[in-house]
Amino acid sequence: MVSIRGASRRFSGGHYGVRGITLDVSRGETLVVMGPSGSGKSTLLRCVNGLERLDEGEIIIDGMRVNHETTDWNKVREEVGMVFQGFHLFPNRTALENLTLPQTVVRRRPAAEAKTVARALLDRVGLGGKESRFPAELSGGEKQRVAIARALAMNPKIMLFDEPTSALDPEMILEVLEVMRDLAGEGMTMLVVTHEIGFAREVAQRAVFLDEGLLVEAGPARDLIDRPETARCRAFMQRILRRPGGESVRPGPASESSWT
């Protein structure tokens, strides 16, 4: 479904965000990406939907070859949903309008149809009855669920999640993970950057560990978490498992969000 071949992204100044990453995500699979702050997790996801340009290598999404010049990124992005750490809801639009806008603008759905889709999706993420709230009137967990529903409204084939629960208060993390778990259960192909160990263990088939832009280790999610093979991955797992809160860890310092 997603095939990443030797993908590198070099920022001005010669610094690599990701370097020579090769990775396949099969249809219906949930793959978790872990790694310390600054290891290139966001950059990897952003390369997949073209928010970052790829300098070397290639990415193939559902048969569409995604390289620098010839790619119709708008077309690719229609198939790839993205959920950000910071939600990025449109603040001047209600929850419902957040879902209908991209449908009418990009998919050219008639307003009535877009509304029906939007209502059904908001219901599905447990937000029925809050359609006319503005983002400022929603809790963090609710905002993130609207953001997930907004991405789903475009009927993407793949969903990318970049630390979707890292900006949330602990009591709201579960409600978002629950939605993601259901989505995975329904067979969505998902690429998830998260340090939620519980989620990774139970929902993800595979996990990869990045460090300094390199893919250091890949394997079945449980093995990678419980029996990491490389010293770097082991040290990282020990660090996040030792955090207070146990399963529900909030990785990375706040400053990390600046690139996400």
Binding site: G86, L101, A136
Partner: protein, 217 residues
């Protein structure tokens, strides 16, 4: 000792009224044209193609670093040497081109003040750059730009007094004409001043009302 002659003023009310209308006319037309031009130049400054960005930046910097009076002279006397330029059009074009540069900066600042994540979210949903701008960024930017825009529009109304220098018979010019007849500068210019004050204050109040109306959560 200054002797007041307020009784001299009322006979000129029709003249002053007509001049007020003309001031209003060039102001409104220039606000509309200047805003369109400024919005265009502001968008050009934030879009991805470098030469277009440069072009817009050149326009903005050029116009912001020369006096308006000079712009008006260039149009009225300069261009006027090649083809007939009426005082009205000289004033409107000069004011619009001049104010457009300031509006462009306000527009750019407004657009740049919108969180970068908004554009990324919109693009991630498959919207093109233009669609993202139109449906997501600009509506938020406009709301934030209203206060500085109002300030700019108020400046424009006051700046329209310079149209008197290209013989457009707006308030300032008519004030000078009346004063040269009755030599009562305080009475004449205080009257004119009161009109400018009322026009500008109305504009401020209108936009404050509009801001409150737009202030959704």
């Amino acid at each position: 000792m200054y002797t007041w002659h307020w009784e001299q003023i009322p006979q000129y009310f029709p003249l002053i009224g007509a001049a007020t209308l003309r001031t209003l006319q060039i102001s409104v037309v220039s606000i509309v044209l200047g805003s369109l031009l400024g919005a265009l130049a502001g968008l050009m400054r934030v879009q991805p193609v470098r030469p277009i960005r440069f072009l817009a930046a050149a326009y903005v910097e050029l116009l912001r670093n020369i006096p308006l009076m000079l712009v008006l002279y260039l149009i009225y006397f300069g261009l006027g040497a090649f083809f007939p330029v009426s005082p009205f059009w000289a004033a409107v074009v000069g004011l619009s081109v001049f104010e457009g540069a300031y509006v462009a900066e306000i527009a750019r600042a407004g657009i740049e003040s919108v969180d970068r994540g908004q554009m990324e979210a919109a693009r991630s949903l498959g919207m093109s750059w233009l669609q993202s701008m139109r449906h997501v960024i600009v509506p938020q930017a406009v709301r934030r730009s209203l206060p500085p825009l109002t300030g700019q529009f108020v400046s424009l109304v006051k700046d329209s007094s310079l149209a008197s220098l290209v013989s457009y018979e707006e308030l300032m010019l008519v004030g000078r004409q009346i004063n040269s007849r009755i030599f009562s500068p305080f009475e004449v210019f205080l009257t004119i001043g009161a009109i400018y004050f009322a026009l500008c204050l109305t504009l401020s109040l209108l936009s404050r009302w509009q801001e409150a109306r737009l202030a959704r959560p």
